[in-house]
Amino acid sequence: MSDIVNKDNLNDEDLVKLTIEDQENFLYLIKRYEAKLGRYVRRIAGLGKEDTEDLLQDIFIKTYQNINSFDKDLKFSSWIYRIAHNEVIDNYRKKQSRPQGASFDVENLLNNLASEFNITKDLDHKYLQANISQVLNVMDLKYREVLILKFLEEKEYKEISDILKKPMGTVATLISRAKQQFLQKMKEQDIKL
């Protein structure tokens, strides 16, 4: 038990080293990222619970298979989010269907978007829950994803750049365009903030 506690205190990069030595140690990384990645996948892919879990399994299996390619110059979280991003895109292409029905943590989203979009926080949460989720669901995947990474996953520009494998300047442009599209879709759907 004390062994588990010790390993729980290790950083991601040390756990990667231990995983290479012993497969069992991968469990600590799974535990650490299961919920985060599950949320991220649900948010960007808008899949149902079972599909999300299947995708999550694929992400972890791919992570394990490619563990030797982990670049120590990157944060492990950026690397595993990158794998998740690629899996979601692959899944999206395979199914050729637009993700639907994802619901978002509006409370969190509002806190982070408030200053960006001058959102009045005392608006009805149920109203926002329904409408903001609806707006995010109809946004282009590339724009929805950067908004989620920036405002829900609260990633820095550099991390987003590492996850999406795009230059920082392109990430800034994507975020700016994503905000514009978000506002435009809100307008189109006559949603007031």
């Binding site: 469990l27 799974i30 535990k31 299996i61 563990i67 030797n68 390619s69 110059d73 230059p167 392109t170």
Partner: protein, 258 residues
């Protein structure tokens, strides 16, 4: 399905899975770098040929070839090599973008860096004669190159337009004989001629002659100039037994200063 179940399921699934060995990733990284570098070298070689074809062009007689400088530039631009250069810059970009850290750099930065490397490496290769050698070798080995790609042969075969390119095969007191690119002999009388002071007529020298066709054997010469570029014409030194000098104005000047 609980979270614990997912973890267990993943662990179960990877029990029979082995991580891909590190050497595979390293090999892939090195291959990507190798291909990016190779594409840069090939594009630099193309740049050296472009430079060679642009510098050793007929700038000194462009008014006899075209109606304007612009028309001359469009006529003689090395389109094939420019296309080749462009394609290999794109290939270099593609592979560089696929290196581990390639995504951090914007398109414009990668292109600018490629361009600078091309200019530096291409100029160096041109200066050591690689551009000339490539054009020369390709001219001799690749069918249609002289007809379609380096079209200066075509320009200096426009005998009806007064442009005659060939090798001196016979020199007499008051006439010379030129074997043209197609292998026909032309008798040229020395009149109306403005020959550069540094040009001494020697058998085996490839020359450019601007003048006027008189009949199927005779050509009136207004100007005679050493051939620029088209070094494959040295092979046409039919009458000369000794090694023919490479012909261009710089060589002539060097010979004279020696």
């Amino acid at each position: 399905m609980s979270e614990k179940n997912i973890s267990d399921q993943i662990l179960d699934k990877i029990k029979n899975v082995k991580p891909k060995p590190r050497w595979q990733f390293l090999f892939k990284d090195y291959m990507v770098w190798f291909l990016a570098s190779l594409a840069l070298v090939v594009s630099s070689l193309s740049f050296a040929v472009v430079l060679y074809m642009m510098i050793d062009n007929d700038w000194d007689v462009y008014t006899s070839i075209s109606n304007s400088l612009l028309e001359f530039v469009f006529l003689t631009l090395p389109y094939f090599w420019l296309l080749f250069l462009g394609i290999f810059i794109l290939i270099a970009y593609y592979y560089f973008r696929h290196t581990k850290k390639g995504y951090k750099f914007s398109l414009s930065k990668i292109f600018l860096a490629s361009l600078i490397i091309n200019i530096l490496m291409g100029t160096f290769l041109y200066n050591i004669g690689v551009g000339k050698t490539i054009d020369n070798v390709v001219s001799q080995k690749v069918p249609f190159y002289k007809e379609l790609i380096n079209r200066r042969q075509h320009i200096w075969s426009r005998i009806d337009d007064g442009l005659l390119g060939g090798v001196i095969v016979f020199i007499e007191k008051d006439y010379i004989v030129i074997k043209d690119i197609e292998g026909h002999d032309w008798v040229i009388k020395h009149f109306n001629t403005s020959t550069p002071g540094f040009l001494s007529l020697e058998i085996g020298h490839p020359v450019r002659i601007v003048g006027q066709k008189i009949d199927e054997q005779n050509f009136e010469m207004y100007r005679i100039l050493p051939m620029r570029g088209m070094h494959w014409m040295r092979e046409r030194c039919l009458a000369a037994k000794e090694d023919c000098p490479l012909m261009n104005e710089r060589n002539f000047l060097n010979t004279r200063s020696n």
